[in-house]
Amino acid sequence: MTVKQLSVFIENRRGRLGEVLHVLKEKDVSILSMSLADTSEFGLLRLITNDADKGCEVLNSLGFSGTVTNVFIIKLPHVAGALQNILEIISANDIDIEYAYGMSVEANDATIVVKTSQIEKAEKVLADNGIGTMSPEELKAL
């Protein structure tokens, strides 16, 4: 099952990240995990939040460039090799991962946010291998 991720384009300019975070705070959009990838000129801020649609709407109304994408949040046990096992299964099934970043949930549990454009296929592979993903309801409850 996928959940909604909020991505925001950010120019590499002092204070720009803070502006985005400020807007989200004002609208009570809380951030559960983030990843910031950048080149020398611009970056993409990717956020798992409690309300990606609301965050996106308010950012765009203020002239930011935000979009909502579907990603998997894969549940992992906190043991050595857990991530590698899953990635091996994914790659063995010819699924390309565009990017991934970690998200901690509880002390004994971890998750990883994974973006792929092959969503349907990934759904099936994950389910067939008994790999758990977080549902939107679970995310909301966090």
């Binding site: 000129e41 611009f42 993409l44 930011f64 460039s65 935000g66």
Partner: protein
């Protein structure tokens, strides 16, 4: 519809009118305008030397500097009492340039604008909203009288307050929009912000745009927001010559038909000042042959274009000038290459995923010029690949068009300044170096 039979004369008939009016103008200017008489005397040319149209090239040029040097009325050929109206250019540097109109000039102006408005599709049944600033600027009042003369209903909404402009458009059933191209795009942007789709919620079918370059790409952008069936034509003029009404496009969009019975066009090489053969690109020089108050002879417009004398499908026989490709003043020399902002604009507007606004920044890095083009993302994305592709496409296209490497800076939507009058899109930070 063709407004006047004068637009369909044979070349011979047109040249006969031009020669007669040119001779009359030169005699009158020599007699009444001391600064120009001095120029002619210095050039060793007398009014009686003008025997044919080709003798025009013997006459000295008039430049904007001449207007400034003779501020305010020094180049006028009539006493002040005969003036019905005075306009002035914005004059961002130093004194404004002042222009005046007699009753006869006002009639000619109205006639010329009626012609270009008709060429652009205006009819007596149109509701014309004029989003040019009313005041000292000639654009608004020029279009106003020309359109009124056709019988259109005028909404003189002037500039600013875009939301109210859109309300008028909707509630009054505006069918014809007069604006700069960048303001027309700005209006479409505001419309979408407030939930109006110009294509379905408004009935604007004709766009008469001017006072700023209209590139093909910009026209495409306008069509995208205002509707594919909108007839968008550009028209040309400048206050020194009269205001709008010097030339305008017809529905075939093959260049702007010049009102040649009032204005004689020439193209010169801006550096050598030599007259170039028809068809070549260069600086447009205009001689006013039916002006009473301010009959400028061989006025250097600084606009870069070319002339086309081939007949047009619309039936008009008048000479056409190509849409401007820049101003000889705006020409940027970057690493020794001549760059017209219009070329950059064309590229920016042709790339999918970018908005129509841009800014050109030129800096000096040591001994080298550095060109940066700032553009706005029009569509949000989660993919670096997509962003890098946009960047690379703009960079590659600019390299092809200009032969220069530019740095592309992607910005969030609504980052760059918006302009309701003439857009200022160039920041040349080399000046004073």
């Amino acid at each position: 519809m063709i407004w006047s039979e004068k637009e369909t004369l044979s070349r011979k008939e047109m040249e006969a009118i031009q020669l007669e009016r040119l001779k009359e103008t030169v005699y009158r200017v020599y007699d009444k305008v001391a600064p120009y008489r001095k120029k002619m005397d210095e050039a060793g040319v007398k009014p009686e030397d003008i025997k044919s149209l080709s003798d025009l090239s013997k006459l000295p040029f008039v430049t904007k500097q001449d207007l400034r040097d003779n501020y305010p009325f020094g180049l006028f050929a009539v006493p002040k009492d005969e003036l019905l109206r005075i306009h002035a250019s914005s004059g961002t540097t130093g004194k404004p340039t002042v222009v005046g109109y007699t009753k006869g000039d006002m009639d000619v102006w109205t006639e010329c604008v009626s012609r270009i408005a008709c060429a652009g599709g205006a009819k007596s049944t149109d509701v014309a909203q004029i989003c040019f600033g009313y005041g000292m600027f000639t654009g608004a009042l020029g279009l106003h009288y020309g359109l009124e003369n056709i019988g259109t209903t005028i909404v003189p909404s002037s500039t600013g307050n875009s939301e109210k402009q859109l309300m008028y458009m909707k509630d009054f059933g505006t069918t014809l929009l007069v604006a700069t191209p960048s303001y027309a795009l700005r209006l479409a942007e505001v419309a979408r912000e407030i939930g109006i789709d110009p294509k379905t919620d408004l009935n604007v079918k004709i766009g008469l745009v001017g006072s700023e370059l209209l590139t093909d790409a910009m026209r495409d952008e306008m069509h995208k927001y205002w509707g594919e069936d909108m007839l968008i034509t550009s028209n040309y003029g400048m206050s020194e010559l009269m205001g709008p009404g010097v030339s305008g496009e017809c529905e075939y969009l093959n260049g702007m038909h010049i009102n040649e019975d009032f204005f004689i066009p020439e193209i010169i090489d801006p550096e050598t000042e030599e007259v170039l053969p028809a068809g070549e690109w260069g600086e447009l020089v205009i001689t006013c042959i039916k002006k009473e108050a301010l009959p400028l002879i061989r006025y250097r417009t600084r606009d870069i274009t070319r002339l086309m004398y081939e007949p047009c499908e619309c039936g008009r026989t008048t000479c056409r000038m190509a849409n401007l490709s820049g101003r000889s003043d705006d020409m940027l020399k970057i690493r020794g290459v001549n760059v017209f902002p219009g070329q950059i604009e064309e590229v920016v507007l042709s790339v999918e995923g970018l908005g129509p606004h841009y800014e050109i920044v030129v800096e000096r890095d040591g001994y080298t010029d550095k060109l940066t083009v700032r553009v706005e993302l029009a569509k949000a994305t989660d993919s670096f690949k997509e962003l890098e592709k946009i960047e690379a496409t703009v960079r590659n296209k600019l390299r092809v068009v200009l032969g220069l490497d530019a740095k592309i800076k992607l910005e969030s939507p609504n980052t760059l300044a918006r302009f309701e009058g003439k857009a200022k899109r160039i920041r040349d930070l080399r000046k004073g170096n």
